[in-house]
Subunit: 408 residues, 2 copies
């Protein structure tokens, strides 16, 4: 008799965004004349860069000609894209990488979810709190999270990030093997300095732990001394995998392309104490369970590294970061406590008077018709916060902050 | 200390195609003046259908306009594509499906590989022999295959498919829980009749087993009484998941799109004997570890269901099947024993005089400069066979068969 992976049964329905949608819909039905503005969803709204569109037009015509059509792509990415990635995203910061250390994929969500495939089920996994839910849910599916007890998974180690520690997580109180770090952070929009990140690399070196570094929001960094890649830190290649995404950098949420760096220096030991290369294991995973990213999409990604492409994505990122500034400054002007929004498209807003995340969400929806994401949905330490995103249209952002500034 | 998934360490490098490439390259270096023709790889060579190319031009322009751009796609597929799939691939054969029973993805390789995520590690898995290596390798990675002993995995149940049983696998001699069936078959090119497939559905119903039915080559069926979908068989919705791909149907190997059907009637039991819906588990898996197929690719897939698209893919399939006919008839004309090639783009050729697969491969390469795939690479029961594919250019196919017909 066929049996299921029982770990899946421990997961509830994806509660957060469906609950938000439920409440918003109920409000709209009761108030059909009122316009609701969402600053809740982390999805882009600006068009794709023209350089990428031009590339796709060209590439798809190649696919229509017998002489230039392409079949299966290399499972781990075309050289033309990998070369552009290494040159622009790494060499420019003094980091050298070999071509077979970069794995092109259909996005960082897939990669951060699938990376668990190559790791042992006995690893103790640490996540920051609040956290991007995919890290937690995929560890539940893979049997590494244990059981849910009073809202927390009993095998996971949570690293609280709060105003109390300036959103810099303390090192775990117990031994951990795998640590997810997302910087610039989703949902708090905060960052680590080079020195702070070095602390984590040193921790991992000392404890033979693995860092899973999600740099999906790297392109939004505006300040100096905020590392764009973990490999800016000495020794990181021995302990860290880095995830990157074109989703927010270049508006690719609907195109799907990202990449993951697994350095060859990153070695671990198996049960028999033999050296194992995670690079080889990830290559085996990707070439067996994935069949490459579409040629035309890889050409679109390559195009963002051209002078025109760079200019275009720069303009779009500036647009979103101006939204972030507007949200942050306006909220602060009325005495609200906010974090993030400087090196990331997320503003992490403290609710006034310690109102709970959901109560504040309801108030904002009912009284101002503005939608945010309740911070508690990202974890216990997110209680009392609301995440606002800077991906909206300017007119909506301006109207939303005006509404939030009206005195009740 | 971080530990790896030790199951990965049991896998050798993907031996088959790298070994072929090694031998072909060595030959080419030693014989730079000789033209090698490959009938070995299962990748398409004809251009994409014009209807799909036109759709991509249109869709990518939508992505460049603020008013029509699309962000994240629905994780399980856009309605416009799912509706076209249900209407054309299922309703046309008297099968009804609901929209949320069809899951659009980046291809059948991903889905047949990832499906193991939702199944318990204790399941006993059966595969036909010879077999598409992804089924085996992903079960090794997931800890369901046991250990490799003399070339076979000791927890897998192999179902030999040979001329002796007319390539119709016998039911397993021991209880199994999960059975992979690929029809039309890769690599043998053979099919099951409705009655034969009904036998497997009845077996699964009786034994509460799950059928994983890979119908990636469905579009190549030419004969009556060969089922295109397992759901043509009564009761199949209770026991079968079906995988489909646009790769071979419409030349999408380099675009990446496929879909998987998980009927809601397909229920299993958990340890506590509660009913579990695999449809819900797969939905949870896909929405957590996958972020949807690109909008422009889904529009390209939708286009193959238009009258122009149908006509175009029909022409290409006919082209490949004419190649198959040429290969098969020419080989038979010189007394070779061949299988497949009528409802599938693969010809499964018995080597002359019981020569081993690799010896025959070497002879064909060295003496005729034609490359096939050694059957033993697909499993023990493939020993003494060579797989030839019909995806080449007509001129190459004609030259290859001419070379093979020369008496030595």
């Amino acid at each position: 008799m066929v049996s299921v992976n029982e770990n899946f049964l421990k997961l509830s329905e994806s509660y957060l965004f469906s609950e938000i949608a439920k409440r918003v819909n109920a409000f709209k039905i009761a108030n059909p004349d009122k316009k609701v503005i969402s600053l809740g969803i982390g999805d882009v709204t600006r068009p794709l860069p023209k350089a990428s569109i031009d590339s796709i037009h060209k590439a798809i015509d190649e696919m229509g000609d017998e002489k230039t059509m392409r079949g299966y792509a290399p499972e781990c990415g075309y050289s033309f894209l990998i070369e552009a990635i290494i040159k622009n995203d790494f060499n420019s910061r003094g980091i050298s990488l070999e071509q077979d250390e970069v794995f092109v994929s259909d996005g960082a969500k897939s990669d951060t979810g699938n990376i668990g495939d190559i790791l042992g089920v006995d690893n103790i996994v640490a996540v920051t709190d609040p956290v991007y839910p995919v890290y937690v849910d995929t560890n539940v599916m893979g049997g590494k999270a244990g059981n849910l007890q009073a809202g927390v998974w009993d095998r996971l180690v949570y690293l609280p990030c709060t105003p109390g520690n300036k959103f810099v997580p303390d090192f775990p109180g117990k031994e951990v093997d795998v640590i997810y770090l997302c910087y610039p952070n989703n949902p708090t929009g905060t960052t680590l300095t080079k020195e702070q990140l070095k602390g984590w690399v040193d921790y991992a070196l000392k404890h033979k732990a693995l860092l899973l570094f999600d740099a999906a929001y790297e392109a939004f960094i505006t300040e100096q001394n905020v590392p764009h890649s973990i490999y800016e830190i000495e020794g990181a290649k021995q302990v860290a995998i880095e995830f990157r995404s074109f989703s927010k950098t270049a508006g690719f949420t609907g195109l799907r392309c990202g990449y993951t760096v697994v350095p060859k220096e990153l070695t671990v030991y198996d049960e028999a104490k033999n050296v194992v290369s995670l690079n080889q294991l990830w290559k085996r995973r990707q070439s067996t369970k994935f069949n490459g990213t579409a040629y035309i999409i890889q050409r679109a990604a390559e195009a963002i590294y051209t002078p025109a492409g760079k200019q275009q994505i720069h303009e779009t990122i500036d647009y979103y970061m101006e939204n972030a500034r507007i949200i942050k400054e306006n909220l602060e002007s009325i005495g609200m406590e906010t974090y993030g929004g400087v090196n990331a498209p997320y503003i992490w807003m403290k609710t006034p008077k310690n109102v709970s995340s959901w109560d504040f969400f309801d108030r904002l929806l009912n009284e101002r018709q503005v939608v945010g994401t309740p911070g508690v949905g990202f974890g216990k330490s997110g209680e009392g916060f609301l995440r606002l995103t800077a991906f909206g249209k300017r007119t909506d952002v301006l109207e939303a902050v005006d509404r939030m500034k009206i005195k009740s």
